[in-house]
Amino acid sequence: MLLYRYNNTLRHSHGGQMFRHIDPRSPTPLYAQIANRLRVAVATGELAPGASLPSVRQLAAEVRVNPATVVQAYRELERDGIVDSRQGAGTFVRELAEPKRAAERQREAVRLVRSLLAEASALGLTADDLGQAWKRESGGGGR
């Protein structure tokens, strides 16, 4: 649900949803979390080539972060060749070759597995425990 609209050109009404996992208490800096979320969205096709990112103003207000944080996230994505920034027009998703998108998806998958392993190890769960659960949940779970 959108908090409220600043103007009616807001195309990314899912912005608030998309960034709901942004966690200021995480040791990962906020700009990196935002950049990462967008990177994944591009890699999975959630954000198509040519799609425009919300303006700094919109995203800062929606996610409630310092505008400088959004600027930093966009700058990182631009540096990595994920988006193009056009003066006055906005920031746009670039056409990425499939291998690059696959690499980004893989990167995110590795990140997820790492955090799962870290949490499991902190709780004292073994790889075996995880393996069994994996089989059960990914097999006949039907969800």
Partner: protein, 297 residues
């Protein structure tokens, strides 16, 4: 580097038992500066000193590059201020209150005020005496943003507001900041709220500035370290030791200015680390306060 707010050796004795002491604040232009501290730390008193509502007993204050109190009229024309207990005439309607406020500021932007009125869904014809607390909170933010100030000084702007209104108010503030090179000085004891918004923090306790640093330094530089074995006693450390506690499972240190490579210092000094724990703003805040108080005691 230019500063929107700068104080040197600021001193103010409020009573026999409470004073602001040797306060050196440096708020960079363009920063969103969180002025944190527990209730009674002196946050409101400091803000009143900055804006000339109280006269200091010592020290110097500069706001927007001008001197307080000498240049107050110029400063106040460019500064937006939401006090802890703002006053508006209750018999005015929302629109009347906006026009009344506008009369005091040359920079007031009526079109922007209208836009915010719509965004906040405030009832323009309602009397202020009939507004809810949340609506009043939004109105105060509207008035101060529509001034289009270079500096916003907000004293606990979201205190007592419900989470939905808090979000709306903060979102409007951030939308404003992303379009203007304004500086925001925001005091709060609600640490979580400021954690994602501020890029600088100042921590006040018992009238003294305990710490002032960029948020990143605060979040990355302060760690809680659980030790299996404490290193040999030494005063030479590459970081600042904020506190140390002896617990059942070994000592726990809280350190400031931490960098990952410093792990090696511990093994070099015969210590053993079990865990390096990240502290969020609230934990860090509590630890710094505790350390400052035990030093002061």
């Amino acid at each position: 580097m230019s500063y929107a707010i700068e104080t040197h050796g600021l001193r103010y004795r409020a009573s026999r038992t409470f004073e602001i002491r040797d306060l050196d604040l440096a708020v960079r232009e363009g920063a969103i500066y969180g002025f944190l501290g527990p209730n009674g730390a002196g946050k409101t008193t400091t803000i009143q000193l900055l804006l000339g509502q109280l006269r200091p007993h010592g020290g110097a204050i500069a706001v927007l590059g001008r001197r307080v109190p000498k240049d107050l009229p110029e400063i106040l024309a460019e500064a937006g201020y939401v006090p802890e207990r703002p006053h508006l005439y209750p018999y005015l309607s929302v629109r009347e209150a906006i026009r009344y406020h506008a009369a005091f500021y040359r920079s007031f932007d009526a079109a922007y005020a209208d836009e915010l009125l719509g965004n906040f869904r405030l009832p323009g014809d309602q009397r202020l005496s009939r507004l809810s607390k949340g609506e009043m909170g939004k109105l105060h933010m509207l008035l101060v943003l529509a001034q289009r100030p270079r500096l916003l000084v907000l004293d606990e702007p979201t205190d007592g507001l419900d989470p939905v209104v808090r979000r709306d108010v903060l979102s409007a503030l951030l939308a404003f900041c992303s379009q203007r090179a304004a500086t925001v000085f925001i005091s709060s004891h609600l640490v979580h709220e400021l954690e994602r918004v501020c890029d600088w923090v100042g921590l006040l306790d018992l009238g003294r500035l305990v710490a002032e640093m960029p948020m990143e330094a605060f979040k990355n530089g302060i760690k809680r370290i659980r030790l299996g074995r404490a290193p040999a006693a030494t005063d030479e450390r590459p970081f600042e030791l904020v506190s140390r506690d002896a617990g059942a499972g070994g000592e726990t240190w809280v350190v400031r200015g931490w960098q990952p490579a410093m792990v090696q210092w511990f093994s070099g000094a015969g210590g053993e680390i079990r865990e390096v724990e990240d502290l969020d703003l609230e934990d860090g805040f509590v630890e710094l306060l505790r350390a400052a108080r035990s030093r002061g005691a």
